[in-house]
């Protein structure tokens, strides 16, 4: 081969490599785009809910309470009759069957929504007001265009009569879309229009806080000891290998461990963020120790020597010089570990977080769900409304993960650049 030929070959090898690299990046980005598009197009509608404008007449005779009633009296009072009366006025129904179909257009919580409006302003007796009553899941999906209304009637959940009412409501501009506060406020529900991630958010929050409180100090102290103080011998090597092994153990194994030890032996309360936090901490521990040790190892030995040479003790040289320098890496490693824990599903299913929990947990020892488990739960539900809720929950989860990862990168860059 002549020199020119070799040169040409070298150049074309470089070009080929560049092309392969660009192509791989492009393919990876394409998949991410498809994923994000899929989730967004399905999930973004879950942040709005459909409501129907209803004129409610607070009839004294039907309510049996007076103006200025105390809160307890209102809460005990029966709003069922005026709810039915008001809903039936939306459209003329011919018989009982049609009346039932009409009422089915509204959420099962219509009575509670009316009562809530009354609680806010209890001088409403004898008055008429317009309220936006949340529509049922079927109407919600129909209004969002997710419902195939061309199907024959016997294959639809919405009857022809209900479609007539719906079209009439649209024509009279009685159907509105507003912000779906239920999605953020409520716990889980059998009715998609009422189901929310409020409980799962709080559950995830408690779990991650407990995970952080347990895993961070233990991981940092363990890394500092192993990296700076531990004698270099077979036992240390053995521990090091096993930390790496533990980081690779499938997370469901930690779930089994927690099931046996935390639930069966110690008898901690099932389905709670406390148990979830401890389980996630066990799982996260080796995943935090590894980046912590790496960032300690990355501190140049000359810094340690400099400190020792002016007469700092080993402890002083580590805690005055090495640890502060390793802190950005340590923090970002911790945050990434926590982000993994936040998205973890399998171990939480085993410790019973997969339970159907309606109430929002007020303490870490109340039964609760968590974001990824909520995704898992809803993805198995048949109702159309849960499809968008599943995607919307994934969106929330992803945005938390993105925020955490950005925070990790930010911390690392901000503090590492300072002295270079």
């Amino acid at each position: 081969m002549t020199k020119e030929e070799r040169l040409k070959k070298r150049h074309s090898a470089e070009k080929r490599f560049r092309f392969y690299g660009l192509a791989s990046i492009f393919v990876a980005l394409l998949f991410v785009l498809i994923l994000v598009h899929n989730i967004f197009s399905k999930g973004s509608s879950a942040f709005m809910k459909t409501a129907i404008n209803v004129e409610v007449f607070f009839d004294q005779e039907l309510l049996e309470i007076k103006n200025g009633a105390t809160e307890d009296q209102i809460l005990e009072a029966d709003f069922y009759d005026i709810t039915i009366e008001s809903l039936l006025k939306v459209f003329p129904a011919q018989d009982l069957d049609q009346e039932n179909q009409l009422i089915d257009l509204f959420t099962t919580d219509a009575e509670i929504e009316i009562k809530r409006a009354f609680l806010e302003n209890n001088n409403l007796i004898g008055k008429k007001i317009n309220l936006e009553i949340t529509a049922s899941d079927d109407i919600d999906q129909l209004h969002k265009g997710n419902y195939p209304r061309d199907l024959p009637e016997d294959r639809r959940r919405i009857s022809d009569f209900q479609l007539i009412i719906y079209d009439n409501l649209v024509e009279n501009k009685k159907i509105i879309k507003n912000f779906n506060n239920y999605f953020f406020k409520n716990g889980d529900s059998r009715d998609p229009e009422l189901a929310g991630i409020g409980g799962a958010l709080i559950g995830s929050f408690y779990s991650i806080i407990i995970c952080l409180l347990l895993a961070f100090p233990v991981a940092v102290l363990a890394s500092i000891y192993l990296e700076e103080f531990a004698p270099k011998n077979k036992i240390t090597d053995f521990i090091e290998i096993n930390i790496n092994n533990l980081a690779a153990v499938p997370s469901i194994v930690y779930g089994l461990l927690a099931l046996q030890i935390l639930l069966a032996t110690i008898q901690l309360p099932r389905s709670t963020p406390l148990v979830a936090g401890i389980t996630l901490a066990l799982m996260t521990l080796p995943r935090i120790i590894i980046p912590c040790r790496a960032s300690l190892k990355a501190v140049p030995p000359s810094i340690r020597e400099g400190a020792l040479a002016v007469g700092a003790s080993k402890f002083q040289s580590v805690f005055h010089h090495v640890v502060p320098l390793a802190l950005p890496g340590t923090l970002s490693g911790t945050i990434i570990g926590l982000a993994q824990a936040l998205g973890e599903t399998a171990p939480l299913i085993l410790i019973g977080m997969v339970a159907f929990v309606v109430d929002i947990p007020s303490t870490p020892i109340d039964p609760s769900s968590s974001l990824p488990v909520q995704v898992y739960l809803w993805s198995e539900s048949a109702e159309r409304g849960f499809v968008e809720k599943t995607s919307a929950t994934i969106m929330m989860l992803l945005s938390f993960l993105i925020v955490m990862n950005f925070l990790a990168v930010y911390l690392r860059q901000k503090f590492e650049k300072r002295w270079n």
Partner: protein, 256 residues
């Protein structure tokens, strides 16, 4: 020359092992007070290992074993019960590559005095910082930016900062491990001037690869080869009329 100064550091039958490998063989070397002793020799000959025994920096290396004696002012320091912190307070060290802490210039100097409880008040610390920087001939250059990072200085300034850091705890001995090998000739000249000035107060041991530097700064020179101290004597004598053939070959550039 006239009378030699008192002996400050005395090593007797010093042997050092890195695991299986022996790095120093029966080194017997006396270092005089308030004088500069230069240690020369080819790479890997054990001169750095030797000075790292004087402040027990070899303790940091797990596999390193030191046997034999080193005395400072007649007190044995190669003793397990000796507190290395107070030893290193007395024996400062400057490294081959400048290694200022990634902190401000002020904090670089005040760190040593602080951990040894030397500057109780802010004004005492200020004074120590100023004096140390002045002794290291760096004060004029940095007095207006003491709160800037020490790592932002030039290489030569960083090395003088490290010298100031070593001085700040008021040691008796300063060990210098090729302090100029990472510096340009101008910075080197400044450090050499500084060493000349510092020897009035401190006992200095300098490891160097530059024989010219050894001639310029030292009063006494030791030549190491393959872990053995081949020859030691007044610098003038070593470079003009060495007793040993190997020393002769090394200083004339025939090997190393």
């Amino acid at each position: 020359m006239e009378l030699m100064n008192n002996v400050k550091i005395k090593s007797k039958n010093l042997n050092v092992y890195y695991g299986e490998k022996q790095a120093l063989f029966d080194v017997n070397l006396d270092l005089n007070e308030k004088e500069v002793t230069a240690l020369i020799g080819p790479s890997g000959c054990g001169k750095s290992t030797f000075i790292r025994c004087i402040n027990r920096m070899n303790d940091v290396i797990d596999i390193c074993k030191v046997s034999g004696n080193i005395e400072i002012d007649g007190v044995e320091i190669n003793d397990k019960n000796l507190d290395v912190v107070s030893l290193r307070e007395r024996v400062g060290m400057v490294f081959q590559k400048p290694n200022p802490f990634p902190k401000s210039i002020y904090d670089n100097i005040s760190y040593g005095p602080k951990i040894h409880g030397k500057g109780e008040t802010k004004s005492e610390l200020d004074e120590i910082v100023e004096n140390s920087l002045k002794k290291a001939a760096l004060w004029e250059e940095v007095k207006d930016r003491l709160d800037e990072p020490g790592t932002g200085l030039s290489g030569g300034q960083q090395q003088r900062l490290c010298i100031a850091r070593a001085i700040s705890v008021n040691p008796e001995v300063i060990l210098m491990d090729e302090p100029c090998s990472a510096l340009d000739p101008i910075a080197t000249a400044k450090i050499e001037e500084l060493i000349d000035e510092l020897k009035k107060t401190y006992t200095i041991v300098i490891v160097t690869h530059s024989m010219a530097q050894a001639v310029r700064v030292s009063q006494k020179t030791g030549f190491f080869h393959l872990g053995k101290l081949i020859e030691v004597g007044k610098t003038e004598k070593i470079f003009k009329n060495p007793d040993n053939k190997m020393t002769q070959d090394y200083i004339t550039g025939r090997f190393g």
